[in-house]
Amino acid sequence: MGEGRPLVAGEARAPALVLDEPLSFWGGLDPETGRVIDVHHPQVGVDVTGRVLVMPSGRGSSSSSSVLVESIHAGTGPVAIVMREPDPIIALGAIVVRELFGTRFPVVVVDEATYRSLRTDAIVSVHADDAGATVELG
């Protein structure tokens, strides 16, 4: 599997949920239930709770950091995010969750090959610190 670039440090191990399209958390994720509510998203209705969320990039509103923080705080959020492209809005949500509540939430960018190897429901371990990041199956 692969090494990645750490955007925000943390570690998590959980089943992956691979989104086929980017998701704007604001307007797209209900922080009370953890479900995708974006009617324009092909996977509307799926539950991100407790998952390593894998998606190509961020999308849409600059309020997405807040919705990510609310969902993690409410216990409905994912436990890590893996993307192909860096997204400062998502990274900010993870930074604030740590500053406010002490919760470590890794955000990692991986290359195309690693990204393509991730499948929904496969157990994925994510580790990110100042030295680097790894995303591994199992």
Partner: protein, 411 residues
């Protein structure tokens, strides 16, 4: 600031700015001239906790800072159909941001306020439609700052030197070329949000150039285009060739490089984008919503003759969201009386698609805003119908959707 000499809140704000600089691979921090903050919108207990912590830590902004919409209409509180608990928390969220020294402007269109940013100025703006307008139409420089970093930048006065603050990242990567679009459609406001919808879908977060728009395309059309492209995608900067300040020519917008891809914008693709904005075939409307982003004075000017001598169907609520400053001018011109006589209701400080105002359970909502059409189904549970301003007004009077199909005909 990291040492805490400006207090705990400034230290937290600076930690956020510095860590974001690492994420964005910035070489250093730069000063910003102003900030526009979106954190005043209530998202839940965690966002309130963040604001409480900043105020308790002595936070004050160090640059002129305007505030985006909140979750309440403070001038017309009866319009918001929120639970008392949530309304209380939303009000507290707004108070806390004002307490940090931000101006209570409560508008998503800060570029309609006096003293807007100048060309080339570095700013820290939140709110996706304001960001894309500031970058594209004003030529100011901001990244897509969102909640938390917006107020952190306002408190510290600094942002990472990265992304759209740097020349090399402002060049277009993708070109949209209008082809075979009728002169009639090019002259209609409704083209622009639909074009923005298509651009956002195709471009994602890329910087784009758009070729073939009329040279006299006005600010409100560019506002609608940008707001749509920042909803269906994450577009933060577009260059309208021959119109926006960094795009006197396609070559200038591309910065001397070839574009990676050119997308032909045909009438057929525009019709598809338009159709994507509706979620229902129901025609019995409960509401018509105008003013996402907040209605400008010029938009009121176009609306007034359409409302002359008519009255909105009693089954339909016609809402127009706008900023307090624009509303004051509307009142001064005597238009508020005419708007109310026609049955229109003004919403300020918030917007119909982010807080429960419309009776969405009674029928679909029609709007001329692609941004409202995109978000209202998710945020307030509305079924939506998209149409031009003229179609919206006529539909509001009939109580049923009315369409001018000739608008979207070929060439």
């Amino acid at each position: 600031m990291l040492d805490g000499e400006r207090g705990e809140a400034a230290r937290l704000a600076m930690r956020i700015v510095v860590e974001l600089a690492g994420v964005m691979e910035a070489d250093r921090l730069i000063d910003v001239a102003s900030a526009h903050v979106d954190g005043c919108l209530y998202h839940g207990p965690a966002s309130l906790e963040f604001a409480e912590r900043l105020v308790a830590g002595g936070a004050t902004v160090s640059v002129p800072t305007t505030l985006n919409t909140g979750s309440l209409d403070l001038l017309h509180p009866e319009l918001v159909r929120e639970t008392p608990e949530r309304a209380h928390a939303a009000g507290r969220q707004m108070e806390l941001y004002e307490a940090m020294g931000c101006r209570p402007t409560w508008t998503c269109a800060p570029y309609q306020l006096p003293g807007r940013p100048s060309f080339g100025q570095h700013i820290a703006w939140a709110e996706s439609n304001a960001i894309v307008f500031a970058n594209s139409v004003l030529g100011a420089r901001t990244n897509r700052y969102g909640d938390f970093i917006d107020i952190a930048a306002a408190i510290t006065g600094r942002v990472p030197r990265a992304g759209l603050h740097r020349d090399e990242n402002r060049r277009a990567e993708l070109v949209f070329r209008l082809s075979g679009i009728s002169d009639r459609l090019l002259a209609e406001d409704v083209l622009y949000p639909v074009l923005g919808q298509l651009v956002g879908r195709e471009a994602g977060s890329a910087v784009v150039a758009i070729e073939g728009l009329p040279p006299d395309t006005g600010e409100d059309r560019l506002k609608a285009l940008g707001a749509a492209a920042a909803s269906s995608g994450s577009v933060a900067l577009f260059h309208a060739i021959g119109i926006t300040p960094e795009a006197p020519s396609l070559e200038a917008a591309l910065g001397g490089r070839p574009s990676s891809r050119t997308v032909e914008v045909t009438p057929e693709r525009l019709r598809d984008a338009r159709d994507e904005l509706g979620t229902t075939s129901r025609e019995d409307l409960a509401a018509v919503s105008l003013g996402t982003p907040h209605f400008s004075l010029a938009e009121f000017e176009s609306l007034m003759p359409l409302l002359d001598g008519i009255r909105v169907n009693p089954r339909v609520d016609l809402f127009i969201s706008t900023g307090r400053d624009v509303l004051a001018e509307v009142e001064r011109r005597g238009w508020l009386f005419d708007l109310q006589a026609a049955g229109a209701r003004i919403v300020t400080d918030t917007c119909t698609y982010i807080t429960p105002i419309m009776r969405v359970e009674d029928g679909p909502v029609m709007t001329n805003s692609a941004k409202c059409a995109w978000y209202a189904p998710m945020n307030v549970g509305a079924e939506v119908v998209f149409g031009s301003l003229g179609e919206c007004v006529r539909s509001a009077v009939r109580g049923r959707v009315w369409r001018d199909e000739g608008l979207w005909a070929d060439g």
